[in-house]
Symmetry: C2
Subunit: 221 residues, 2 copies
DNA sequence: TGCGCGATGGTGACCAGGTCACAGACCGGC
DNA sequence: GCCGGTCTGTGACCTGGTCACCATCGCGCA
């Protein structure tokens, strides 16, 4: 891959103005990590504005008891603002970022971020848009946690995550982290779904036998 | 009160550069509402960037079942970004804003907000800072909700809210909304605190008899 | 003054979900 | 084929949320 940063960015974020892509590429470095790699976490001081070129970044919060929730995902061409936020507000990180799939990303240093905000109107609206988006997503997470009824949420999550595919490869523990609940709860509910014939269970995988029934069940919320 | 908007803003936000204060004041209108007034809510289309001059604005999220949580408070000189966020990201409101105390505020229309972001570096950093701050606060709320142990959280909340005062005037229902739990739960726990001699209860008020004990209890988290 | 009504608080019964403890199943490497 | 770690299943138990209902208070008003 002898592609320049700018070319990579053009593929990942074709909507950005070319001048902005050039400006970002000029001050970023390329980061490549494998599936599951921890890109950032509490205590790190590597304040970068991350822009995935391939793969996504899962941003999780971990509470004191070790339980965690997925706050949001950073898709290709979007950007993660957690680190930037903490930098700007002076607070410490409250989140971990993990690679999902092999991730290639641009890392724009905090200094360059500030400069671009000053100089480039398109970058400003990009940054503000991303911040807004994250705020909305966080409120959605809060809504989910308040609403609970884990069985309904799990059913909905399965259908959404399945996205037409017949099988989902994931552990119960990982699902628990997605939903902000405990592993045992996920196991119990999945077992119940299996009894009803909605899913088939194997180690590390879930077969969706009746996505429609799951969808209807989830819609009872 | 024949004070100009600019003078009011100078009192509320003395740290802002005078030129920025003038620019904000020039395009804002003054809003005055009484305690408890609903400043915004889902479905409204009055996109304003609110800057309280006196009183604070409580931003609450309400879930489908009618249960609510306080997301954050906007203090004097700060600003609420919920409406702005929704505007920028195209999503619908997920929150209500209520006046706490008699609130006087500047309302800066969305259009003016965008213009100021473009033109004024100080306003840009103000806006980005506020967004960052809110993100951190939302993650804190998520942390609290995950951690639960409502009795510990309630004890901590009482001490913090009391702030040295001997009495807090508030209903159990309102406390439940603060913590994102149910009224009955608050009543039960407060009753237990009363049995232990930590608080005294009267309709609409809570006397803190032993804040130290409450503090120690909360610290067990 | 006393009546009525809405807001507030108290309580018991019950269910959902989280925690703890532990066992069994599976999987890869040696 | 054995052994370790990882993943899953399950029962016992506790906390918290929901529901139903009543008691009490404050206040306006006949």
């Amino acid at each position: 891959m002898s592609e320049t940063l700018e070319q990579s960015l053009a593929r990942a974020a074709p909507d950005l103005p070319p001048a902005l892509r050039a400006a970002i590429a000029a001050r970023s470095r390329r980061v490549r990590v494998g599936d599951g790699y921890r890109l950032f976490g509490p205590g790190d001081r590597s304040e970068n504005f991350l822009i995935p070129l391939s793969g996504t970044v899962r941003v999780e919060h971990m509470g004191p008891g070790g339980r965690s929730v997925v706050l949001y995902r950073v898709a290709v061409g979007e950007s993660c603002v957690m680190t930037t936020s903490c930098l700007l507000s002076g607070a410490d990180y409250a989140a971990y970022g993990y690679a999902e799939g092999d991730v290639e990303a641009l890392a724009l240093p905090a200094r360059a971020f500030r400069d671009l905000v000053e100089q480039d109107p398109a970058f400003r609206s990009l940054a503000l848009g991303v911040f807004s988006q994250r705020i909305i997503e966080l409120v959605d997470v809060i809504d989910e946690l308040l609403l609970h009824r884990v069985d309904l949420r799990l059913a909905g999550w399965l259908v959404e995550r399945g996205g037409g595919e017949a099988t989902i490869g994931i552990t119960h523990q990982a699902i628990a982290a997605e939903l902000g609940t405990a592993r045992e709860v996920v196991s119990r509910i999945l077992k119940e779904f299996e009894r009803r014939g909605w899913v088939g269970l194997n180690r590390g995988e879930i077969r969706l036998l009746d996505p429609d029934a799951l969808g209807r069940f989830a819609a009872n919320r």
